[in-house]
């Protein structure tokens, strides 16, 4: 064969792909099937030449090759044999409407399930046995009546339309539904599955959902009953029609029979629909799974309610707790603020006292040193000036500066020392811009 041309591009190598020699074996082929090649044509000759090349096959190999090969031809229709009822063999072919076509062909156990191929093979088998020529050869009477039954059965069953009409009324394929008592005593699924399987033969839609078992999910069970409540059936009742007179003479009579037949078919169809509905009702009523699902649903609902209640309770509790917490925090905050206020007041007072004390130190430093006057009592003017200037300095000082200055002054003795400290302070204040040059002159150097 020439190379196959593929015009779509190979994919790009994914980033990071690497392998020794650029090749990676990953998996193995799934098993093959042994089949027989047809020993025909030039390519087979080449195949045989290759296979036989310098090789002899052992007897074992030869036998094995024959054994393992997949067959394509069916064996004889052994699966299609059942004993023939002597009464059936005596049937009058004219009464074909009432004959069991499947039994005539030996297909009783297949019925509507028989494939067209099975029907044809079954027919073949019957022909080989019952053909009038065979009877003649066997010396039995030249009676071809059962042969005619066979032909009729085949005619009906190999015509899809006729077969449906017959299958529609094939009572042998019906499975009677079990009674309520029987169901309650036995296994629901074992008892009802065959009933639905048999009803399913009339379905226009496929696949037909199965009845399932006790482990089927709720969805599966619902699908099942929905399917059966909406069943679309091809069942018809033509087969039970009254024969329409075949002559052209009596047209009215003919039309009358046709009308009657039509009405009968309709009626039977309606009855059948009702019958099926009742049957499904009954199964539904007896189906323990439905009860189980209801119970589960109730349990589920209860659980949901309880859960909801619990949740509400939890939420309420949470809210209460939050509120409590809020109050607590508020109270705590208030207490802290109060405490802080008191503390502040204390510090403020302490500072005030300290300032007072320091001011006193400042004043007494001059007072104790004769208002910095040398020799004799200080004149009133000096006293007045010095005190005014000390007040001015006090006014200009912050609490800490005041404390500093007081500290410095408290260790000083004598007017000179005190004055030096004051002079320095005045200088500092002048430099800091707090005093103007010449202010507090009585204390300056």
């Amino acid at each position: 064969m020439s190379a196959i041309q593929i015009n779509l591009p190979l994919p790009l190598l994914p980033a990071g792909w690497s392998s020794d020699k650029d090749f990676k074996a990953v998996g193995s082929l799934s098993p093959a099937t042994q089949r027989s090649l047809e020993p025909v044509g030039p390519h087979f000759l080449a195949h045989a030449r290759r296979k036989r090349h310098q090789r002899t096959f052992s007897e074992d190999e030869r036998i094995q090759a024959q054994e393992n090969v997949k067959k394509v031809e069916e064996d004889d229709a052994d699966d299609l044999s059942e004993p023939e009822d002597p009464v059936m063999l005596q049937r009058d072919p004219k009464d074909w409407k009432n004959q069991d076509h499947y039994a005539v062909l030996g297909l009783s156990k297949y019925r509507y399930r028989a494939t067209e191929e099975q029907i044809k093979r079954a027919h073949r088998k019957k022909v080989l046995k019952h053909h009038p020529d065979k009877k003649a050869a066997a010396g039995t009477a030249d009676d071809d009546s059962f042969f005619k039954c066979i032909q009729k059965a085949t005619e009906v069953l190999t015509d899809p339309v006729k077969r449906r009409q017959y299958d529609s009324v094939d009572e042998h394929a019906d499975v009677e539904p079990p009674s309520k008592k029987e169901t309650q005593k036995g296994n629901f699924f074992k008892l009802w599955a065959p009933v639905f399987d048999s009803e399913a033969r009339f379905s226009k839609n496929h696949p037909v959902p199965s009845l399932g078992n006790e482990n089927s999910t709720r969805e599966e069970v619902e699908t099942f009953y929905n399917f059966w409540y909406n069943f679309d059936s091809w069942r018809t009742f033509e087969y039970q029609d009254e024969d329409v007179p075949d002559d052209n003479e009596n047209r009215d009579q003919k039309r009358h029979v046709e009308r009657k037949n039509n009405a009968a078919r309709k009626k039977k169809k309606t009855e059948d629909t009702t019958r099926l509905r009742h049957l499904v009702d009954e199964a539904l009523a007896l189906d323990e799974r439905i009860k189980k699902f209801r119970k589960e649903e109730r349990a589920h609902k209860d659980k949901r309610r309880l859960e909801k209640e619990a949740e509400q309770k939890r939420l309420a509790e949470e809210a209460a707790r939050a509120k409590e917490e809020e109050t607590r925090l508020k109270a705590e905050k208030e207490a802290a603020e109060k405490l802080q206020k008191a503390e502040d007041k204390k510090t403020r007072e302490a500072a005030k006292n300290a300032a007072k004390k320091n001011k006193r130190v400042l004043k007494s430093a001059v007072k104790d040193n004769n208002y910095l006057h040398e020799g004799g009592d200080a004149p009133a003017a000096q006293v007045d000036r010095v005190l005014t200037d000390v007040d001015l300095i006090i006014a200009k000082l912050e609490a800490t500066e005041l404390a500093d200055l007081a500290g410095k002054l408290s260790s000083k003795k004598g007017a000179t020392e005190v004055k030096a400290v004051y002079a320095e302070e005045v200088k500092r204040l002048v430099e800091g811009g707090k005093l103007k040059e010449g202010e507090a002159a009585s204390l300056a150097a």
Binding site: I6, A65, A137
Partner: protein
């Protein structure tokens, strides 16, 4: 088979192809040019009725014998092929109803006929009848070819038993014809098509529907690299052209009854005449749109003539056409395939001339399936000649081989081979299993060892590419077609739900769209080809061994080197082996 020396001691072997049907037989010769030629007998027939008739000790064959079905049915032997190699219990005498009846004779089947001038009839076995028939065929071939034909490849149905083959070999031998090989009718038909000079070897699934006179057989064949494997067959021993004849017989008989109040079917001779003419009318309707039937003295001395058009005929026959269609569908489903898997339908056998059968079958298959029948394809080979052409091609191939050699080569030890259950191929576009597109190199049902080569395109700009070799299975996806917009479009959203249910309830619901898709089953190997040039191609060769081990080679076309690697054989190589 090694072309060993032709047996020197015996006279030179001249082999032809023979198709031996219940209704007709044909002979053909394939010369050195490889072109089969179907040989006409002395009367100019290429489809020679498989019928022998005796009148005052004189033997008639073919068309002349067929004409005797009217006057001399008791001494006319017809539809006997399927009686050969069987005991009486196993035969269905139905088709011989209007000719000599088969009878039990010792362990075989025989006919009681006046085949000599003697007053008393002779018991002639079906084997003897077959010998006489083959002798006539071989003599016609010898006459035409100008040398003595003494060997043949003969076509048989796929369900022909060993006993039937042995009986046929024996009968042919008595006629001086050495059967070199029996080949299956449907395979012969495929070979006839594949041997045409314009045909290319390809991998395809072919359905051969052999629609004959009294039976029909369908085979589903995997054609892989010129090797053929039958995957499934379906047989209907009672479905064939004679059912269509019967449709016309009933139609004309009813007309006759209407006019003349007598039913020609109730008299054997009238019925035989009507059958012969109805068949001729049926054949005429394959070509023309109307045909006339005229029978002299059909019943009670009354001449009958009537015309029927093709439409009427097709309407009357639609049930039978449906049976042909369903038989074909049965075979496909027995092969566990879908109609979408079928690449080609070869209609073979005389009834395949019927245009409506071809169109009914064509309609059952998707558009991707080619239907090869005279009415659907101008390149179709005459369906009545397919089997014999195939047989004669095979005869030309093995004419020089010793029997022993043929026996060895056709033994299961040579013919039985493991067949792949899934396809092997590579992913293109993307290496991701869900996005990548699978392209098969080896199709499912390919017999191994096998080897396939493919050339892949590379991405636009070239570069490093990945060759991901996988095993993939075919899946059928079906989806509903987009609902056609309704005529009344102005509906608001609230109505949508109703709309949908309207749609599903409607009777003329559209058929769902079915498609074939590949699904990756197992990744077998990965290989990289680095730095491919812009616009270059990558050639991949996959070689699957008989143990299912795989050798893979890949290279850029025209470049040096390449990648080579192998994949281990699986632990179990064969499914369900004993």
């Amino acid at each position: 088979m090694s072309a060993e020396e032709v047996a020197a001691s015996t006279p030179e072997r001249h082999a032809i192809g023979i198709s031996f049907g219940n209704s007709h037989s044909s002979i053909a010769n394939t010369g050195a040019d490889g072109k089969p030629e179907v040989i006409a007998n002395e009367e100019g027939d290429r489809q020679i009725p498989s019928i022998l008739s005796y009148v005052s000790g004189e033997e008639f064959h073919g068309t002349q014998a067929k004409a005797q079905l009217v006057r001399n049915p008791k001494n006319t032997v017809a539809y006997f092929r399927d009686f050969l190699g069987k005991d009486f219990k196993q035969v269905d005498p139905t088709s011989a109803h209007a000719s000599a009846h088969p009878q039990q004779h010792e362990s075989t089947v025989a006919f009681s006929i006046h085949d000599s001038e003697s007053e008393t009839p002779n018991t002639v076995t079906v084997s003897e009848i077959t010998t006489r028939h083959i002798r006539r065929l071989a003599s016609s071939a010898s006459e035409y070819l100008g040398y003595k034909v003494n060997a043949a490849v003969v076509t048989v149905p796929t369900d022909f038993s060993d006993k039937q083959r042995a009986a046929l070999t024996e009968a042919a031998k008595a006629a001086g014809v050495d059967v070199l090989q029996f080949i299956h009718e449907p395979v012969a038909a495929v070979l006839a098509y594949d041997a045409r000079p314009e045909a290319k070897v390809s991998d395809k699934i072919v359905v051969v529907a052999d629609l004959g006179g009294t039976r029909s057989d369908v085979a589903v064949i995997a054609s892989r690299g010129g090797l053929y494997t039958i995957l499934a067959t379906a047989h209907d021993p009672e479905l064939g052209g004679s059912k269509l004849d019967q449709v016309l017989i009933d139609h004309f008989a009813k007309e006759f009854v209407k006019k003349h109040k007598t039913d020609p079917r109730e008299n054997a001779r009238s019925l035989a005449k009507l059958k012969l003419e109805s068949e001729a009318t049926k054949k005429a309707l394959s070509l023309g749109t109307t045909a006339t039937l005229s029978v002299e003295s059909l019943a009670e001395g009354i001449d009958f003539s009537a015309t029927i058009n093709r439409t009427r005929y097709e309407l009357l026959s639609s049930k039978v056409f449906g049976e042909f269609r369903r038989l074909i569908e049965t075979a496909v489903s027995k092969a566990q395939l879908d109609l979408l898997d079928i690449d080609e339908v070869i209609l073979s056998g005389g009834s395949s001339h019927t245009p409506k059968i071809a169109s009914v079958v064509g309609a059952a298959f998707p558009e991707t399936t080619t239907v090869l029948a005279p009415s659907t394809s101008t390149s179709a080979i005459n369906p009545s000649e397919l089997a014999v052409r195939g047989a004669s091609i095979q005869a030309s191939l093995i004419e020089g081989f010793e029997h022993e050699d043929i026996e060895q080569s056709t033994h299961p030890v040579v013919t039985v081979a493991p067949h792949l259950n899934r396809a092997i191929g590579a992913l293109v576009i993307s290496a991701e299993e869900h996005h990548g597109i699978f392209r098969p190199l080896l199709e499912p049902e390919t017999a191994v060892p096998a080897r396939r080569t493919a050339q892949f395109a590379t991405p636009k700009e070239g570069g490093d590419v990945l060759i991901k070799i996988v095993e993939a299975a075919r899946e059928i996806h079906s989806r509903k077609p987009e609902p056609k917009p309704k005529a009344d479009e102005k509906k608001d959203d609230d109505d949508e739900e109703d709309d949908v249910s309207d749609f599903t309830d409607s009777e003329d619901e559209e058929e769902e769209i079915r498609e074939k898709k590949w699904k990756v089953h197992t990744v077998l190997a990965e290989a990289a080809i680095k730095a491919t040039k812009k616009g270059s191609k990558v050639e991949v060769v996959i070689n699957v061994g008989s143990d299912l081990g795989i050798q893979i080679t890949a290279r850029e076309v025209g470049a040096q080197g390449g990648v080579r690697g192998s994949v281990e054989k699986p632990a179990t190589a064969v499914n369900g082996s004993a």
